[in-house]
Symmetry: D2
Subunit: 203 residues, 4 copies
């Protein structure tokens, strides 16, 4: 496992998906991938952020995480998206970035990118499945190769059992209710493993 380039693209208002992204980064680096952790640009008005102390704090803490660019999408062989749910879909911050990819899409630059996704919600069945599935639907338009974890490792069972991608429930205080660290790491390894196969086959 050597030459895979992985972009971990997340949106996080209060830190959960940033944590998921960092776990994925650790596993991917250990597996020898080149990794970038990138955030979807914040598009919410400053006053909305300022009104929510946890959001404000996380916003300040992650100011130095680079915003994802189209160049990153072209650079990477594989993407892992990590995002909270907004009514069973990704937040507008993620969608706004995806909406800018028309040029790459039109020129076939996103074909055969290997992708997987993770999500969080405040309720155990609060849209975690739907959010991940909606991202995959979009990425199929790109010609991406969807590498959902399924039950490819027993860790899926012990971490909530979401076959579409690792997901976690977060309580009002921001605590994760399932222990998903190992599931995230498995998903990261699997994503780059499949990207490695595709790289070997196409380069």
């Amino acid at each position: 496992m050597s030459n895979v380039k992985l972009a971990i693209i997340y949106y996080s208002s209060t830190g959960t998906n940033y944590k998921l992204a960092k776990w994925a980064e650790a596993a991917a680096q250990e597996a020898g991938a080149e990794v970038k952790v990138l955030k979807a640009e914040e598009t919410a008005p400053q006053q909305a952020i300022a009104a929510n102390p946890a959001w404000k704090e996380h916003y300040e803490e992650t100011k130095d995480v680079p915003n994802v660019t189209l160049h990153d999408l072209e650079w990477a062989d594989a993407y892992i998206f990590s995002t909270p749910t907004r009514y069973g879909s990704a937040p507008a911050q993620i969608r706004a970035f995806m909406d800018t990819t028309g040029g790459l899409w039109f020129n076939g630059k996103l074909v055969n990118k290997v992708v997987s996704a993770m999500s969080s919600a405040q309720n155990p069945h609060g849209g975690q499945e739907a959010t991940i599935l909606s991202l995959y639907t979009s990425m199929m338009h790109w010609g991406a190769i969807i590498a959902a974890p399924g039950y490819s490792d027993p860790v899926t069972f012990s971490s909530g059992g979401n076959p579409y991608g690792t997901s976690v429930t977060v309580d009002q205080d921001g605590n994760m209710l399932e222990d998903v660290e190992e599931a995230v790491k498995h998903q990261a390894r699997r994503t780059i493993e499949i990207a490695q196969m595709v790289n070997n086959g196409t380069k």
Copy 2:
């Protein structure tokens, strides 16, 4: 058919969904509903708009159409969403507005709103179905009542046959490839008809 308040909420860069919205408005007014046609606020950078003459022109033409507000969602008994597809999902403009509804949602203000949706895409199977279904998934979080047209009228068959909501294919020059005006009007009438029933039952 009298006291239904209908919000037709659309996003349109070059005019297709604005046209669908206006057809829906005409039918709804004729059926006696109080109707507002409202656009999702444009969130794209001005330079992106300026770079696309058709987008720029439509943007200028519809400057006076009010942006949808949370107050409109509370006011209306029924919503019809009309939106182009962005990779099988609604554009960020629509999602950004939906992401602001947390307060209404939390206070149960969106429960029993009667909803339906319409979509457009450049390819006949380019995400029309997926886009509408993704909106319904989100609206289920609100506790909305989904009134997809199904095949409740023969017009669905002659206008492309999308049971989830009226959808249309638009070519590179902005021409609609199916004749959907009557299907839009049927959908509008059906949406307010069901909203009328709900109004009578709850007021």
Copy 3:
């Protein structure tokens, strides 16, 4: 709440969805609805059933529950489907029944039926959301009115928080891991409440 006719249509191999169906029945009867609990006909080979003691036992126990028929679909004003997941979709037993509804569909006999759905799975995120959403997609073809519970009552939060419909996780021994009885009952009441409104409006 008086004249609503409700068909609770379930499939159950080892009893979970039968239990959900019976809770729904109790609440619906208390609310004054006429209720039928009906099972999707078993289509699995007898040897498969015989090889699984829990399945065999439940199969024998529920021999007297009538199989759902097309006549029941026509009779009822509202349906509640309750079904385990099979890879994020309803089992073939449910789909086989739905596949027989072409005649009713073609003649518009399923238009404006008010529907909601429930599901179970062995993993907390094991397809509960996807299974319910796939049923709603199908019922939109019928012209049904989808009355997902959303968060229309606080009980949704305390029972797993699935806005699409009540869902439950079942362990290897058949125990339900969430307490969903009250959520099922709320969903049943809500389904018939909306069916009542539709009845009043159309009859």
Copy 4:
């Protein structure tokens, strides 16, 4: 392109998806894959088949096409599913087969199978997208790798533009309304190309 084993698994009542399957077979053989065309076992009652002359005729014509078995799923590196829609989902014949895969699933035998899907419907937007997406959702449970065509070749644009998989509209007389032969062939080649990469990487 040599050692890929491809199972083309279809259901067809009157011949459309059989034709799609045969086009896929031709392209896959030309690309050097070992190919089996396999049908989902017919589960409809004989009287239903007998009552529909076109169904009866196709049923007799394809009597010698082997029914797909669990062994075939294990044998193949890649699967292409081809199926009509039944209300935005695959028919019970397909689902019944999928429901028998629990043993393979539990033992991880379906992990990393490369899959894609095709569909048909009588209306241009009559569930083609939803049907394919619902199959992918299920296959994610298997740990399969989803290789939807996206717009990886211009032929997608000229054949209806369904990025999730090739789909076709069939009129009352069984005529296909779009020319999808080349799109089917592209999808077959792409599916085995990606399976080749995975084979090389894992064997």
